[in-house]
Subunit: 459 residues, 2 copies
């Protein structure tokens, strides 16, 4: 529990209207998209790096923990104030500072909502590709801290690939700049990428310099249905071996299709066992050619339907199948654990088969869909928590799913991060030596263990 005089100092730093200790506020800033909740001692909404710096300097003197938070849309508890302390909300720092159309660079504050940023750059004919599912509410600072992904990562990469530089308040309170505005730059260690995906444990981001691209001239959406999982999974490798890198290659397994079709009656062919939603973008003539080539490449793989959207409205209609997945899942069971394993893309059929075995062993429905182009599969373990033993069984199944991904050369998280939820499983993926190096870096930057303590690594 923070001392009253420390609370007073915090209130002075951010101003009374940006400081809260009321029960409502504490509850509002104590949850995220996991089902975990922890109450902080207080919530602060600093205006800039200077206030963040003062808060962290005070924290190092008074030894209280600080938990940075964007929109709180994380899936692993990375922003949750476990053990209590100060939640530091970045949403007041919400300005797009500049969009430089000459150098294809933008500078923003961390509290800008992802979609808002995309809308603004698109007005200028530019493109910020990362598209996490949360983009309508998640903040760019959170996206960077978690290294958010999304469907377009196949072609364009993840958030990290667009971060050129940062302004960061390090845990001891100093304000530093990392990286810069140039594509090349090799002076000193790459602190920028180290901060990306560090989940608020190594610094609080107060400004971000993003790389932008020209907005693609056109896009083409295809809904393809296969008579087997293997056919769909092979299609992914076949297309890429055919030298076409689509913007998205979204996969839905039979369980997913059943859920969606039962509820929304999309009229998918009865013999369909898996769907790939494929999108290509770029020059209009080129994508026309690519759509034809994709059809020819995947035709022999048990293709039972191939629909090409003729215009934006039809494209939206095809995307609807994918968008309806989440709302449909609750028909299977009321509670879900949404994991996001990744395997090398050619191993998608193997991991799906392994998950099938796990599903049968535990007798729990598991629904798989996701970003097959980069091997990133969302594994949804559907349970009813009100039934005794189901949650325990789910945790056992999750552990086996992680192990299956790791055995195939993958990772247990492609987008969601570690936070609190995956912390117990870290030793499955990282060796004691790897963890040792990472803990050494944490200690070097945060000697008093102020920033998001107890996260990422096993205590």
């Amino acid at each position: 529990m923070l001392k009253p005089q420390v609370m007073e100092q915090l209130k002075k730093i951010v101003g009374a209207e940006n400081f809260a200790t009321g029960a409502q506020e504490l509850i509002c800033y104590g949850y995220d998209a996991t089902q975990m909740e922890f109450l902080p001692d207080c919530v602060v909404h600093p205006a800039d790096a200077n206030e963040v710096s003062q808060i962290l300097k005070l924290a190092n003197v008074e030894k209280f923990p600080v938990f940075p938070r964007g929109a709180g849309s994380g899936f692993t508890g990375g922003a949750l104030p476990k053990g209590g302390g100060v939640v530091l909300v970045t949403t007041r720092m919400n300005k797009i500072l500049r969009i430089d159309t000459d150098n294809l660079v933008a500078e923003v504050e961390p509290g800008v909502v992802t979609e808002q940023f995309q809308i603004e750059v698109e007005k200028l004919g530019l493109f910020y590709p990362p598209d996490p599912a949360s983009l309508k509410f998640s903040t760019l600072g959170g996206n960077v801290a978690e290294c958010a992904g999304g469907p377009r990562a196949v072609k364009y990469g993840v958030t990290k690939d667009f971060v050129m530089g940062l302004e960061v308040v390090v845990p001891t309170g100093e304000i530093i700049r990392t990286g810069g505005e140039t594509v090349k730059g090799v002076v000193g260690y790459d602190l920028t990428k180290l901060l990306c995906g560090s989940e608020g444990t190594l610094g609080i981001i107060t400004k971000i310099i993003f790389k932008l691209l020209p907005y693609p001239a056109a896009k083409k959406t295809m809904l393809t249905v296969f008579d087997s999982i293997d056919g769909a999974a092979q299609a992914v490798s076949t297309i890429i071996k055919g030298k076409i890198i689509p913007t998205t290659l979204e996969f839905m397994d039979h369980a997913t299709l059943t859920c969606v079709d039962r509820r929304f009656n999309l009229g998918l062919p009865a013999e369909g066992r898996a769907v790939l939603l494929i999108e290509v973008d770029g020059d209009p003539d080129l994508i026309e050619k690519q759509a034809g080539a994709i059809h020819d490449l995947i035709q022999p793989l048990g293709l039972v339907q191939f629909r090409v959207a003729k215009n934006a409205a039809e494209s939206e209609e095809l995307w609807r199948v994918r968008r309806l997945v989440s709302p449909s899942l609750r028909d299977v069971n009321p509670d879900k654990f949404n994991e996001d394993i990744v395997v090398p893309r050619s191993k998608v059929p193997d991991v799906i088969r392994k998950i099938e075995v796990i599903q049968q062993r535990y007798d729990i429905p598991i629904v798989n869909f996701g970003h097959a182009g980069d091997g990133n599969i969302h594994v949804n373990i559907m349970i009813d928590k009100s039934q005794a033993g189901q949650e325990e069984k789910a945790h056992q199944a999750i552990k086996e799913v992680f192990q299956a991904a790791l055995d195939l050369g993958g990772t247990m998280s492609g987008e969601h991060g570690v936070g609190l939820a995956k912390q117990p499983y870290i030793p499955l993926e990282l060796s004691a030596e790897q963890i040792g190096v990472m803990q050494g870096i944490k200690r070097a930057l945060d000697p008093n263990n102020i920033l998001n303590p107890g996260k990422m690594f096993p205590a």
Copy 2:
């Protein structure tokens, strides 16, 4: 000076035939592409990570410095054994372990020569874009340690952008894996990118996992001559604003053209003041269209010649202009300092103008060429060291060139690194706080300061 019994232990680890103390060997492994030289105590050629680990563990017990080295082609002394110690050469670890055409991934040992790797992946229709000028002899391990760039970085990025994972022996001797084979992966800190460009100060790379791309179907080369530097520099921004990202946008200023033309008689138009060598790659129809669009975009900018290569032989002929630059420079003066500043690409005209002023102030010829597409300009300060005071003047001029790049939001090195050569200038670019964070990381990973000690940061 290493104790004789320590030398004996090193000889035992790598085998007598892979251990050397003879004067010839010491001299051969004590220089690089700078004009600096330092003699090590001995040279070891380990076979694998296990031997590297044993060497570093011994180094931590006996407290001797270790200097990892690839081909020794570095421009800043990053591999030089200043102060003596052990040079650890990675060239025996020279196998391409696998090229995975399904997942567009390759795993290699660090001693593989860059061009050799490119040839092997191209045989399979794949593409490894980074193309440092040293590619015929530099090693991939060295490329990763320095984060090598090259002309194709405009479109494809630098070495770091293709490194997915590493096997690394950390300074204390533990062997760790970083990253992996998947595009997405957010478990733990990104040690992979931290190691890229760390210039052998944080670990010795013993395996590299690279991302590959499909080889572009076709390419088109254009030689464009402008009647002013400004025209050429504006052309760069204009093309990219026109939504075309060429593979290369190589720039040569008037001094460069004069050198090349005087020696090789290329028949460039007399009114030419700057050249852009432009290459686009991809779908044959698309690049045809892009070449036309580029012509139309740059026509109003003082274009005095526009030559498009019709075939590979003509393309080679156009590239000859660029390739002849280095051999021509010595006509200006016998000695050169080759710097590699970067500015945001729209600032190229400004930095060239500032360099012009510096040149006049110091009365030293300065020749500028390089990768204008990413704002990376090679600034060649041409002197005659035999003339008293020239070297001193050159160092003064270099410092002003760095400051000019920094004032325009750039960096003093895009590709060559810091090493020993740029160490004195680091405080121009990095703040004391930034340096403090980087030194903290170095200390955390290398508590006994074994690996490449005294490099990167001011002592």
